[in-house]
Symmetry: C2
Subunit: 392 residues, 2 copies
């Protein structure tokens, strides 16, 4: 029986949209990776009556409620107070946490402000949940059917507390009830609909389902695994990999750019870009600092012309994104053995998506070269009007 897991986001800033609630999405993903799917999410402001009403109501319908935010020292942080009211208990001082906070301040040679002592006031009977990186401790409260976990709104504190403290408790409490396993594959250049048509037409082993997510410029494909049959899992993965081929750029939590950095050492890479603004340089500088990048308005807008322009460069490795011309934007890679150019047609109206896609395509050509794969291939999402390979 699948447990009912719910999330509650608190705070006026989240409710009014002044802050985008990235914590809720992160929590949902974290739980999904463990095999638990969140059933409902709620967002309420810093209003005690609304919080009390919600906690009371959810306590009858959920098994697990993770509450995020409202644990700070100021007067609008009222999560503990609201939970105490909902449970019909009072707040009481947790002497241990008070001392932990005092030590945190003392180690920085500062006195603890009086307002912080509020953060050690927990609902009677609550279990303290440690926060090694902040003054807002978490806590757990059982009310009716539900166990409530209270977590801090600061993303870095939330992450440590979830991973180190709350996930182990959830594993213990929920066991393997209703858990599924997820493997993720990140692809570049395929369209979501084209890919799903291909994959959905295949037969997949029992207990294995597919999931998709487009997050331009990449697509994520998931194998959602509800079986312990290792052979079936291996077969499904092999079948997927055979279909996606060299479009696969990363797996699970691996960042493919991390593996490119070491490959670019001493390569004397040079970048020229026009239509992409500074996006390619900005992207590559997060991978390595060992290159030069130039934004110039007025680069060639035609493939052959861009290739000739590049042939003049004495550098061993040069990437270039030309200007937008009638046939599209030429994107080129010159190595010591050849000069590869393809002209790509852009179908996105918003300029930021165009820049991202151009930069990612150039980066993919570089990645393919470094990994000894074919430098230019068909991208479903990016029609190519022209493709040239010339001597270096």
């Amino acid at each position: 029986m699948e447990p009912v897991i719910e999330l509650v986001s608190t705070g006026d800033e989240v409710l009014t949209g002044l802050i985008t609630d990235t914590n809720a999405g992160w929590l949902s993903q974290l739980l999904l990776e463990q095999g638990w799917q969140v059933r409902r999410r709620f967002t309420v402001g810093d209003d005690k009556a609304d919080l009390v009403e919600l906690f009371e109501q959810r306590s009858h319908q959920a098994d697990i409620v993770i509450v995020n935010g409202g644990l700070g020292p100021t007067s609008d942080d009222i999560s503990a107070e609201a939970m105490a009211d909902a449970a019909g208990v009072t707040l009481e001082l947790n002497q241990h946490w008070l001392e932990v906070m005092q030590q945190k301040y003392a180690s920085r040679n500062r006195d603890m402000p009086k307002s912080n002592s509020k953060q050690a006031m927990l609902p009677q009977g609550a279990e303290l949940v440690d926060n090694p990186v902040g003054t807002a401790c978490g806590f757990a409260v059982k009310l009716n059917r539900a166990t409530f976990f209270f977590t801090p709104g600061v993303p870095s504190e939330l992450k440590v507390m979830m991973n180190d403290e709350i996930l182990p408790r959830l594993r213990q409490q929920l066991g393997d009830n209703g858990r599924s396993q997820v493997r993720r594959f990140f692809l570049f250049g395929l369209s979501e609909s084209g890919l799903s048509d291909k994959l959905d037409a295949l037969t997949w082993p029992a207990g294995i389902a597919l999931g998709y997510r487009a997050n331009l410029p990449t697509i994520e494909v998931k194998l959602i695994i509800d079986t312990a049959n290792a052979e079936a899992i291996a077969q499904a993965e092999a079948q997927l990999l055979a279909q996606v081929g060299t479009h696969l750029i990363a797996r699970d939590n691996m960042d493919f750019t991390a593996s490119l950095g070491p490959m670019l050492v001493d390569k004397d890479l040079m970048i020229f870009e026009d239509a992409s603004g500074g996006r390619l340089t900005d992207t590559i500088s997060t991978i390595t600092r060992e290159f030069e990048g130039h934004y110039l308005a007025g680069l060639p807008d035609e493939a052959e012309e861009l290739a000739h322009w590049l042939q003049k460069s004495a550098r061993p490795l040069t990437l270039a994104i030309g200007a937008a011309g009638p046939k599209g934007v030429p994107v080129a890679l010159k190595t010591q053995t050849g000069c590869y150019v393809q002209t790509l047609q852009m179908h996105f109206r918003d300029p930021l998506s165009q820049r991202r896609l151009l930069a990612f395509t150039a980066l993919d050509m570089l990645r393919r070269h470094l990994m000894n794969e074919t430098v230019m291939i068909d991208y479903d999402i990016l029609p190519c009007s022209e493709r040239l390979t010339l001597p270096a």
Copy 2:
């Protein structure tokens, strides 16, 4: 009496965190700009029983419920069906919308797929809400206390429908009950706590409250106005402007970069950057294409050295961000009359925030120069270890 307005986001992709729910934040902000504050938000998956239960429950507690998503042609789009169940009615064909859809397809010389006819099935008694840019029509249903508005999940369609169709209906239904007016001011270089200490110490007219939001590298200050007294409003605004001075970079929905573009025509701007990767070039290329940008590893990391390096540039207007050195990162502007350099200490651990802040500071120096303001000022958020002004 303030109306109770609630939002419901639907869809497994949103619930599981695969998609970040930007629509909910956008809706909250849009309503806030009109003076209505959303009271609660709910997120549920593509599960009919969960949707029916939620609609039934909210119908007793809210005045307005805006439901987003689940209006598409596929089998997991079940918002209309769930609303019909909650209201105890059946779905019926809206002949008008069926014809509108058929015309939309005919104008593109295509036959309408059969699955689309589902999008014309509305709960009995529902009022059609036009969607001029898609095949998912919206609709409104009154149940118990609440009026439900159903909107498409595609952000561009949602935006048109809200602005053109639903806001006029809300204004008519809710009148001025509980509406407040909001004026927004965007600032650069001040810290949120320093600013709030200063502003909160002042006396503000009755019916006017302050709100803050840090969104690095800028801060937004809001005047939340619950009075019709024009004199009080003008006085509050003047008092705010006097405090923030030239830290003000934009107001309300104005994008300050839009006004810089025309000022940079024919200025022959040249950019060099090191510690900021390609971020400054990438940012400025969204404002104008008339400049050159260069990322070079190994620029000077010391203010005087960077100034001397820049003095060699023959260009009339040059911006440079040096390398990170022991005193910080030197950021320089050379104009035809002088060379201004300040070394800034970076206190952010994550590299992306550092780059953004460096690029924004350089851009602010350029903005100040173009607007004939003092080029270098104290930034609360960015301690300066050294400041030089040399001849050009």
